[in-house]
């Protein structure tokens, strides 16, 4: 059974079909790329998958469960975590607290225990700190644990966003243009990070990308979106040599 199975997904905004009859099947462990020119509807697909928008038609299944029309929160709890094109960190919180927000579903104590710092509070906080630190180590952020997220350099902010998403314990990770605004060095480092996440956590990843080099370097499969429709789908090499894709990308 596929991990993510999307059928005939469509949404219109004021008569314009932003996403039209979108299908995708992602197997467990795959690293999948979603590419397409500007305004093709890539981020809209992410917003549909994470419940920010509700589709007009279509079904989204995660691990066999229907998650169509569920709220963003429920979808996160069901196992989809994401990052954003324009970084959305909790800017005035420390690096470790950003991750601990993500861990909140897994490590629980009551609000009263939290307000009085009694009961399970100390033990659970300790476990959270440990878990958060080991996650930060993976992303090489453990040295900045008490730095405010807003004060991190750009590349590290991107990494922290991925770390926070991973903290929620997802089955599927959605990355929205993770390399946007990065220089070649940072992009290279990011590719390593993504590869590492995949290896370390056995993670299934769907990523939106403009950077062709990044896409062809790490994705096994691609879906090309153009004007809200799927233009082409399949193994990376085949897709990239498809003449239609080349036209869509380079223009006529």
């Amino acid at each position: 059974m596929a991990l993510l199975d999307v059928n005939n997904l469509s949404i219109s905004f004021g008569g314009l079909r932003a996403v039209d009859n979108f299908n995708i099947t992602i197997e467990k462990g795959e690293l999948y790329g979603l590419i397409g020119p500007n305004g093709a509807g890539k981020t809209t697909v992410f917003n549909l998958l994470t419940g920010v928008y509700k589709p007009n038609e279509g079904i989204i299944r995660l691990d066999g469960d229907d998650i169509t029309r569920k709220s963003t929160i429920e979808i996160n709890h069901a196992g989809i975590a994401r990052t954003f094109q324009n970084i959305r960190l909790f800017r005035n919180m420390s690096v470790i607290d950003n991750v601990k927000v993500g861990l909140a579903e897994k490590f629980k104590y009551s609000a009263l225990e939290g307000m009085l710092h009694v009961g399970k509070y100390r033990k659970v906080e300790k476990e959270m700190d440990y878990e958060a630190m080991s996650l930060l180590k993976v992303f090489d952020l453990d040295g900045s644990r008490d730095v405010l997220a807003a004060n991190l350099p750009y590349g590290k902010q991107r990494k922290l966003e991925i770390a926070r998403a991973m903290a929620t314990g997802p089955k599927l990770l959605l990355l929205d243009e993770p390399a946007a605004g990065m220089n070649p060095n940072e992009t290279k480092e990011l590719m390593d990070t993504i590869a590492l996440v995949r290896r370390e956590f056995d993670m299934t990843i769907l990523l939106i990308e403009h950077d062709m080099k990044l896409v062809s370097g790490i994705c096994e499969k691609l879906t090309v979106l153009n004007f809200g429709r799927v233009l082409c789908q399949g193994e990376t090499k085949e897709v990239l040599s498809n003449p239609e894709v080349i036209t869509a990308y380079l223009g006529e």
Binding site: F90, D97, K100, G102, A104, Y109, L116, E125, T168
Partner: protein, 354 residues
């Protein structure tokens, strides 16, 4: 001991030290009766400043109706104390008055939060103002009395209560409640302040507090991270209202005649509390306590300053906002002083944002 724990203990230490100094001054007769009379108000203004900072600095939503919650706490507890004065001994009665005042304020915080927290920014602020005024106006038209036949209630006039001769009017419309027992004192005020500080500072360093601050910083990302945005907003708002209610209990048990007047419970009073919070540092709990105490005491001590007090506060408020928040000024400060932040030096730490 972690850095945040240390910072929390410093806050408690400052409050306790101030308490000891003032008590010693009082015992040695160095405090005028005028100043003594200001101590309890100082504590309840500090308490409501903590409550409002939870709402503005930690939750990130501007409320300009918080004195409405204080008003609810004051009236519900004073009503209880007046009605049971002859029946229940002082200590358990005052304790129960606290529970009632806090519970009523929390309940209304919750009920008002349901519609209010669906809104954002300016709209939310103006609706909190609206609710604050509604609470004040409605309480002003309440008439409740007790006689041998039981409880009487009307919203028309004292005459319409139709009381027996032995009747006792407890809430008399705009004339409010008279004769609430004077159970509050400086020590109790300080204890309430310490408990409020304990709860809010602990909350900030807990799973729930982090969720609340995450919503403040970016609610879209918070949702995507699985945080129940509505639930946590409600939680923070309700706790904030409850603490404001506790301040109200202190208020009503320190005053002979309690009226729901604009001076104490209108939006202007709420804005005064906001001034304490902003000048103490939005999100800086310790700062708002210090600011509330100093800004309340200073003009009362320096009588000549009183005329200019609000004028000075308003100017300082505007300047503080521009210095701390203007993108251009921030850029200039960074260029001139490097990473140094003037405000964080002045107030110890700067955590939150509105």
């Amino acid at each position: 001991m972690s850095k945040t724990q240390k910072s929390n203990f410093i806050t408690y230490g400052i409050v306790i030290a101030a308490y000891i100094i003032l008590e010693v001054l009082m015992l040695t007769g160095n405090l005028s009766s005028h100043l003594k009379g200001l101590l309890v108000p100082m504590t309840y203004y500090a308490v409501i400043a903590v409550a409002l900072n939870l709402c503005v600095g930690i939750l990130g939503e501007l409320s300009i109706g918080h004195c409405g919650f204080m008003c609810l706490g004051a009236f519900s507890s004073a009503f209880f104390s007046r009605a049971t004065e002859q029946i229940i001994p002082t200590v358990p009665r005052f304790l129960m008055a606290f529970i009632i005042g806090i519970a009523v304020a929390a309940l209304f915080g919750f009920l008002i939060g349901i519609p209010v927290l669906r809104l954002k920014g300016d709209y939310l602020a103006i609706v909190t103002l609206a609710f604050g005024e509604i609470i004040k106006n409605v309480i002003n038209s309440f008439y409740i009395g007790i006689d041998s036949k039981g409880l009487h209630f009307t919203m028309k006039s004292a005459m319409d209560l139709n009381m027996e001769k032995d009747g006792d009017i407890i809430i008399n419309g705009a004339m409010g409640i008279t004769g609430t027992p004077h159970n509050a004192n400086f020590t109790i005020g300080i204890v309430v302040l310490l408990i409020s500080l304990f709860i809010v500072q602990n909350l900030v360093n807990s799973r729930d507090g982090r969720a609340i601050m995450a919503i403040r910083d970016n609610y879209i990302a918070a949702e995507a991270t699985g945080i129940n945005v509505t639930g946590y907003k409600m939680m923070a708002f309700t706790i904030s209202a409850a603490i404001a209610g506790a301040a109200g209990v202190l208020f009503s048990h320190n005053i002979t005649t309690l009226t729901a007047s604009s001076q104490y419970f209108g939006y202007n009073a709420s804005i005064m509390i906001l001034v304490y919070v902003v000048l103490g540092g939005i999100g800086n709990i310790r700062g708002s306590v210090i600011a509330a105490c100093i800004l309340y005491m200073l003009p009362e001590m320096l009588r000549g300053l009183n005329t200019y007090r609000m004028l000075i506060y308003s100017i300082v408020l505007i300047i503080m906002m521009i210095v701390n928040w203007s993108p251009k000024v921030i850029a200039w400060r960074k260029k001139t002083f490097g990473g140094l932040n003037l405000i964080s030096i002045l107030t110890g730490k700067k955590k939150g944002v509105a």
